[in-house]
Symmetry: none
Subunit: 201 residues, 2 copies
């Protein structure tokens, strides 16, 4: 995990202080320990470290900083517990299930790569600019699948795939855009979409 020199100093101070005293320091104590005169600076450091996932804290609570041990942070949990369903129903914690979800559930043993989506051609499919589509490398596709296709070897686009007689129809999912019709020979399929991954900041 990326960290700057100053951030490491702050982190080290927190670790040491907590180990020595059994409780975490107040911002004032951090400031004097690091030779800072403004609590705002301390707050900024803590916020940054929290954003990097190196410590936990509770908002507006005194001495609530908790440094996350590095080993625990290391073991990148790529598999998430699937706690249940949402949309009306019970509190999340009440639901207990042993299911998990991970990227491997989607990609399996296939050869998969990701592409960042730009533009709104798949908006009606709820795939938006900035999303990552997970694409299985494949030369063929089945009726109605979302594919990455090249038409005349030039433009790579994301469309739904349909046969229509001798032609292939590439259907964008945005009512403002028209489908592309092309002879099978001039359409080259790069892969088909297995999933979508989106990140909020």
């Amino acid at each position: 995990m990326a960290i700057t020199r100053r951030q490491k100093e702050v982190l080290d101070f927190l670790t040491t202080f907590t180990a020595r005293n059994g409780y975490s320091p107040s911002y004032e104590e951090i400031a004097s320990g690091l030779g800072l005169s403004s609590l705002a600076t301390v707050h900024k450091h803590i916020t940054n470290l929290h954003a990097k996932g190196l410590l936990q804290r509770a908002q507006n609570r005194s001495r609530s900083i908790d440094v996350i041990p590095q080993r625990a942070a290391r073991k990148a949990a790529d598999r998430l517990p699937l706690l249940g369903r949402i949309a009306a129903g019970k509190p999340v914690e009440a639901i207990q299930s042993a299911e998990t979800i991970s990227l491997s559930d989607i990609i399996g043993a296939r050869e998969v790569f990701a592409l960042e989506v730009q533009g709104d051609s798949m908006r009606d499919e709820h795939i938006i600019s900035g999303d990552y589509v997970l694409v299985e490398r494949s030369r063929t596709a089945r009726e109605g699948e979302i594919v990455v296709a090249l038409v005349d070897g030039s433009d790579a686009t994301l469309k739904r795939f349909y046969h229509e007689g001798n032609l292939i129809r590439l259907q964008p999912s945005n009512s403002e855009m028209k489908p592309i019709y092309a002879p099978a020979g001039s359409v080259s399929i790069q892969g088909k979409v297995l999933g979508v991954l989106r990140r909020y900041n």
Copy 2:
């Protein structure tokens, strides 16, 4: 993966420096460590090594270089190569970059769980029934974040979070649904949404 002698020297320097100090070197430190006088040269080396997938870095971020251990780079079934962007442009294969994407990029070291979405309350956010939302367990949220919230301890829902005077407004992202207004005391936040994962069958 082809690597030059000089590139190995750069990589070794990075590894050693980071191991010794607990944070990665700045470009200036790299330059002096390798006897270079221009930061541009350092930058070029880093860019090349990144393109070869031997290290990760964040744009414009200080000391954000992370050397990828070679065994981890090997298996990484859960880490997908990010081949480029799509929507009109070049053929996919033509694009070369060594960026990758994985669930760990989203979850970091946080405590995260997944929920399967049912219903259409977040349709306008392009989160649809069947999607998995990746949720960081948290009691608090910031203005405008998508949260999992309990109102009066009964209903768990997915909404955008806003303060409005003494009240909290939970805003569904579906024009047909009305926002919920509730006093802060009766709203309990379960977590905030970091990302979305969707699977096509």
